[in-house]
Symmetry: C2
């Protein structure tokens, strides 16, 4: 039930879109800077080496004139399976917004079925979280914690409303097919 966002899984997710070099992946990750601070090369390159060693990706060395050679990585079937397994595996309860959004991005590039699965899972978790938070507010807590709980409540309610909205739209689209 350990479930944070792991670099290797992120990489596999990007390679699903297209073969890339480590440097390319870094650029892609920078594009997600609104969500996560992109991992450093110090973790990126070793992760690539591990994925290669484990047969999740293959490399092709591409020389360039006037520039350093690039190592283009391509995801293998085994790699795809591993990624799929990770996405399908239920997210740990209490898992952060960030981790969920990463899963959403990855799932959204697979299929609509995966996408709705993620959304439904989140719905279940957020409403459970909402309940726990409401319960915690009943107890006697300090002023800071009281505010924090209230904040959590507000965010959870907003999440729930959004999820219901989107899930409603998606199910309507399915009917129309």
């Amino acid at each position: 039930m350990a479930n944070t966002i792991n670099i290797r899984q992120l990489i596999l997710g990007f390679l699903t879109q297209q073969p890339m070099s480590g440097y390319d992946i870094k650029r892609f990750l920078k594009g997600l800077s609104w969500l996560i601070d992109s991992p450093s090369f110090g973790s990126l390159y070793p992760a690539l080496h591990t994925l290669l060693k484990d047969g999740h990706v293959t490399v092709e060395i591409v020389p360039q004139q006037d520039k350093p050679r690039r190592k283009i990585y391509t995801i293998t079937d085994k790699g795809s399976e591993t990624l799929q397994d990770w996405i399908d595996q239920p997210a740990a309860s209490g898992v952060s917004l960030k981790a969920f959004l990463m899963r959403l991005i990855l799932a959204g590039n697979l299929s609509e079925a995966h996408l709705t699965a993620q959304l439904k899972q989140r719905r279940t978790q957020v409403s459970a979280h909402l309940q726990r938070t409401a319960d915690a507010l009943q107890k006697d807590v300090g002023p800071g914690e009281r505010l924090a709980l209230d904040y959590g409540l507000a965010v959870a309610n907003a999440e729930l409303a959004w999820l219901d909205n989107v899930l409603g739209r998606l199910s309507k689209d399915t009917e129309d097919t």
Copy 2:
């Protein structure tokens, strides 16, 4: 600008409320399970040793009959200063909801001035984040990322509404004084 929630600072925060043993702190942290999964003993006890060595806390060994002896830790002036410094230091941009809520809890137990400072800081950050997210939505992105961005937008708007609400209430209270 590295700014996640660090065990040592959490511990100092709890010890501000009252002297406690490591075991007690663990129990307290469990009470915050709606926010964070409480750190393991494997990080808690070593953290306590470090704090002791650095003069941020003092210990008193309390023997018990029929039960193992307890080590009660008390925060020192130096420890209080360190904590204060950490809370006053501006939170890194893009810092997570979790990290902010922890700061809120800690600040709420210090003074109302600290509390409003945290809230105002968060307001600035969330509105900046909102802007970045809206910008990112303009660009051409995959279906999953599109949804994720929209989700982020919804949550950020909810946060902003809540912050404005609370900040409004707090400033009114101050006028009435």
